[in-house]
Symmetry: C2
Subunit: 453 residues, 2 copies
């Protein structure tokens, strides 16, 4: 613990070579890789493999039923094996109008770097590699064996990861896992997140007629948009309670230990509200209640579409209407089961004209706070950031953590450069260069300490 | 009554010159003129004026606050003046995928001609002109004075027509009016429509936050799409009853005479249901009840939009959401009043976060069945079509009829080539060539008989 000559040399190497890392990040951002639209995926997988080789890793592209995975590994001094999970796919850039610079062109402004995927997750991949490169350059080799699994379907719910991990337990065998992302809060405190929520993503497709009609016949012809609006309103009440029978059956409540962590957790609610221009949170939640609300699974309308959406007027009865809903799940809820319960519920409510299309999902997962890897991350975060880190028992987002926790039986730690204004999944996604440097130093420190466990 | 040598000569002229008329129609269709998107409007007004000149009319383009109007006139033998109301604007072509041929390229297939606006309303304008051209060519002059007002804003609710008609009563002075459209039913019976519904078109704009957010925060951040779905559900109940206080206050019920016409009116409900691929009408309406339902004003969701609408998944909380609603109004309802009542209602229900934007509207209007112009249209329809015409007391669609009825105090008659599969306001809009010929003959006959009144 404390700074040694070695860690100072490593930090200094990281600082000196930061422009190289950012140049590689710019190359990676310039390669679109939108999994939900199948844009640029093969090319991006090849670029990721090439970057691994540049950093001295053995890399290979593993084709599969979905987008290819990139697997890479390198030996190291200790027998301990660290596996890093990352993804090369990004969210769609839409709405394009919202961007101040082209989404697929990394752009520097005011100490930040903008681009789609720059925080989620390309910046993290490059940061991990820059950290390991510094360790290798200073010490001649890595402190431990390191494996990488970089997938291409994270933004569409990682459909291939669970089966792949299950089928490749030996290849991926490890003693600890560094998760794809992590970051700091508004105050700049690093947060270590112990778990992620699950996800069940469905699309509701309403069909009322075989074709659109002139709205002069609206007293006779059924309207798919009305049917959809009615169906949506049966899913959740105005108190945010989800009305699907059995929805909460498997939902685990926070443990006593988790509730203590929530109570101790700093939570910058005022900053968050200001950032989104709102007066209050849903249901007026505040304080510990707002923090623990992450243990309330959600039903979020992520998209709506029907009829005429252009400027001005068009008088049409839409024959079809569509809603996308993502359910964020808490530990022990099963995404397929949730979609099935929704399907049954809508049918029982008489909405036979609405198809429930399951687009993907994953289960929640949590690592205990007393796992040695977590303790290393907390300790080194104090060192690097000079701040007391924040422990987040469960975060609102999702990822294929469950496969790693369940199949590889590894503790999982988060670290990284995200911050509350990263605008992930939204226009003007960005990272702060200074935070990129800190995250890279933190990653180097975690690997060093992990090698000694 | 009955066919005279003259009418046979006129009919024969129409048949011989049908290709000329269709070529002019193809030219007009090739010129996009989407009022709601401000596409091609000036060019189309100029083309319409040029076509009037080719047909021997004095035409001029009248600029105004909105899209220009085209006014044209020609003298004739009798002192009676007939005014034709038409429009050169069309509905947006979207969804483009739904078209089997390019929307702005008139295309012949199976005795039909396809294109955006070909039925609504460019075909009718050319048919009127072809009919008058035949009368002029056979008799050396028109039977009566004919005026045309061709506007560019019908598809956006004719915002400029009421004020224009009021300010130009002398210019537009007439004894009868031929409305922009008309047609036949599934069985090929011509229908004469006595009135049109009004329209109040609003857009609901929900705003929940200053920007979109990652849906991992859905337990805390408000969702505009949910707010919109909830607001929509307060507007109408599942029995199609509109819940806005005072909505029905001014709605006139059908008169005894109108109810008799509804009872006598053939109504091809089975054909209509088959055409739209539905098992039953809204509320299971059938028979006279279904016919009279046109006197029930409607609230139609014409468009919905929020968040991510592309393929696959995106996990976003939409900061904004939008719904377009057109209310079809019955006689005596006021469109501005309806929008205001909706605004007040949503505010009272706590939806301060939803803006009600009024996009336009018009009042309903009806001509009595015993007006001589109506009787002429019925008589000549029997002659031309060899069928008993159908009298429709009120049709579901809308138009600026009220301005003509109120300000010019003229009876208004419909005739034309539309048919139930014209797909107006939808992809593959089309006309049947044989019906174009019949409609042109009918128009010629109406003008001839009207001149003798």
């Amino acid at each position: 613990m404390g700074r040694t000559v070695d860690t100072e040399t490593v930090d200094s190497f990281i600082e000196k070579h930061i422009d190289d890392a950012l140049a590689r990040l710019a190359r990676l951002v310039a390669q679109p890789s939108v999994s939900s639209q199948n844009v640029g995926m093969e090319s991006c997988a090849q670029l990721v493999a090439a970057i691994f080789e540049e950093y001295g890793f053995d890399a290979r592209i593993i084709p599969g039923s979905g987008y290819p995975m990139v697997y890479a590994e390198s030996s190291g001094r200790s027998d301990n094996t660290l596996i890093c999970y990352n993804h090369y796919d990004v969210q769609p850039p839409e709405p394009i109008d919202g961007w101040d610079s082209p989404p697929f062109e990394a752009t520097f402004r005011d100490g930040k770097m903008y681009g789609r995927g720059i925080a989620d997750d390309k910046g993290h991949l490059i940061s991990r590699l820059a950290a390991l490169d510094a360790l290798r350059s200073v010490n001649g080799e890595l402190p431990c064996r390191v494996k990488f699994l970089v997938e291409g379907g994270e933004e569409i719910g990682s459909p291939d990861v669970p089966a792949f991990v299950e089928a490749n337990r030996e290849l991926l065998r490890a003693d600890g896992c560094v998760w794809e992302t992590g970051g700091v809060d508004y105050a700049g405190r690093p947060d270590i997140t112990l778990g992620m929520r699950g996800l069940s993503y469905v699309q509701l497709n309403a069909r009322a007629m075989s074709r659109d009609a002139h709205s002069g016949a609206a007293h006779l012809l059924p309207n798919a948009a009305w049917r959809l609006a009615r169906a949506l309103n049966t899913i959740k009440d105005s108190d945010e309670r989800i009305l699907i029978p059995g929805f909460y059956d498997d939902a685990r409540r926070p443990t006593r230990a988790e509730r203590e962590l929530f109570a101790a957790m700093p939570f910058e609610e005022e900053e968050m509200r200001r950032s989104y221009g709102i007066q209050s949170f849903v249901l007026g939640l505040t304080g510990t209640e707002a923090r623990e609300a992450v243990f309330s699974p959600t039903a979020n309308i992520a998209g709506l579409s029907a009829g005429y959406e252009g400027p001005g007027t068009k008088t049409v009865i839409p024959a079809t209407a569509m809603a996308k809903i993502d359910f964020r799940l808490v530990p022990d809820q099963d995404p397929v089961d949730i979609a099935e319960k929704l399907r049954r519920y809508l049918r029982d409510q008489g909405f036979d004209d609405i198809e429930v299309e399951y687009l993907g999902g994953e289960r929640a997962a949590v690592t205990p706070v007393d796992a040695p890897l977590i303790q290393i991350a907390l300790r080194t975060a104090r060192d690097v950031y000079g701040r007391e880190p924040v422990v987040v028992p469960l975060t609102g987002g999702s990822g294929p953590m469950y496969a790693f926790r369940q199949e590889l039986d590894v503790p999982i730690v988060t670290c990284g450069m995200s911050y509350p204004e990263s605008h992930v999944h939204a226009p003007n996604e960005n990272i702060v260069i200074d935070l990129f440097v800190l995250a890279t130093k933190h990653m180097a420190r975690i690997a060093e300490e992990f090698a000694k466990l």
